[in-house]
Symmetry: C2
Subunit: 227 residues, 2 copies
């Protein structure tokens, strides 16, 4: 699966969040990191879009929307040619949005009043109009105030958001972890370290097998119940 | 009441709709027509905003949002200085949005899936954040296909949207009409025409008096019911 991360940030060189996310994205050769800059080469932008399976709009929230450059890119690159030739039809559209307020403030009655999902409605409408599958958004709240542990989790979850074919499926998450451990084993020169990672991979696979068995049992019980 | 119409249209010279609306707006000396063009003189933009009682964002809908230039203007002009000095607090914010689809297509299950109100949520959130009163939006559907009669109605309704202090109050609408008739009488040289308009004004005022009497009666009946 090929993922295109379209990054819209007017001051990207000053953004610790974007630097962090760029590092996380760099571990996956199927992810293309694409920072928007004017003027746009429309044909090139369109071929990048059409080569992707998953398109991510990634931006800091400015006045409840993406910075102007994302809209400029949409207004210019998502043109009649792109629409009439179905260049993005059937792709997935995900949104990674960084915000300065806490998650709890985005709800009726709280300071921001509206949910992130509501504020992103125009992108959802775009996906609906052009036949893209709209993914659940990936908001990052108050990155500056996150602990090391929260950031470690963010690092993994963000990589998964870019790469896992079926989001929210636990089995795909396990497979994603197993694939990465296998890669790590192949590149590890220290035999002690390698043995440790092999142990971890074995454990993970065993647990997945056990989980599969449990699923089968549950399925069997349910079918029996139907009679 | 001073109204600032902030017009964001990348091809305004080709827009019959904007030409039509500009003509309608030109009849009112309290309305400032302000077409956005880069680069922005931020101080001048801010003083225009702060001098207005009602601010209107007016634009054609491109990909379920305003054209990029409105966002660029918001990102640059609605800055920390504007926020910290409350330059727009207490103003009203209205949205005039022109769309190429029919009104009926903006609802769940129809082709556009989302309501105009939902799609404009980011502007509503902006108003909420900065203490502006958000007015009901003024969408103009398929201007190209409107009949002369529909356009005459649009002409009046749009003028009212820019100028009437309390929107949706019938009495204020009548007052607005009466003011305009009085102005017309003062400028009319033909005595026959003037007599006709005076007749119309008299009729309008009589009907308003009758309506006021009816309101009083209803109020009196309701109060009586309470005992």
């Amino acid at each position: 699966m090929k993922t295109l991360v379209v990054v819209a940030h007017p001051q990207i060189e000053n953004s610790a969040t974007e630097a962090f996310l760029k590092t996380a994205a760099s571990f996956d050769e199927n992810v293309t990191w694409h920072q928007l800059a004017t003027p746009f080469d429309i044909k090139r932008e369109q071929s990048l879009l059409s080569a992707a399976d998953r398109i991510i709009f990634q931006f800091p929230m400015y006045w409840y929307s993406a910075p102007a450059i994302l809209k400029e890119w949409l207004d210019k690159v998502w043109d009649n040619y792109l629409v009439n030739n179905h260049l993005v039809t059937g792709r997935e559209l995900g949104i990674v949005v960084t915000v300065g307020h806490a998650a709890s403030s985005f709800q009726p009655g709280a300071s921001q009043q509206y949910t992130i999902a509501e504020l992103l409605r125009p992108y959802e409408a775009l996906a609906h109009n052009l036949g893209l599958q709209y993914l659940p958004a990936f908001p990052i709240y108050q990155f500056d105030q996150q602990s090391d542990e929260q950031r470690q989790l963010l690092f993994i979850c963000y990589q998964q958001y870019l790469a896992i074919p079926k989001l929210c499926h636990f089995k795909d998450e396990v497979k994603w972890f197993a694939d990465r451990l296998e890669k790590k084993i192949a590149n590890e020169n220290d035999p002690v370290q390698r043995a440790k990672i092999e142990q971890l991979l074995l454990l993970l696979n065993d647990q997945q097998d056990e989980l599969d068995d449990l699923y089968m049992s549950v399925k069997w019980l349910r079918e029996k119940e139907d009679y």
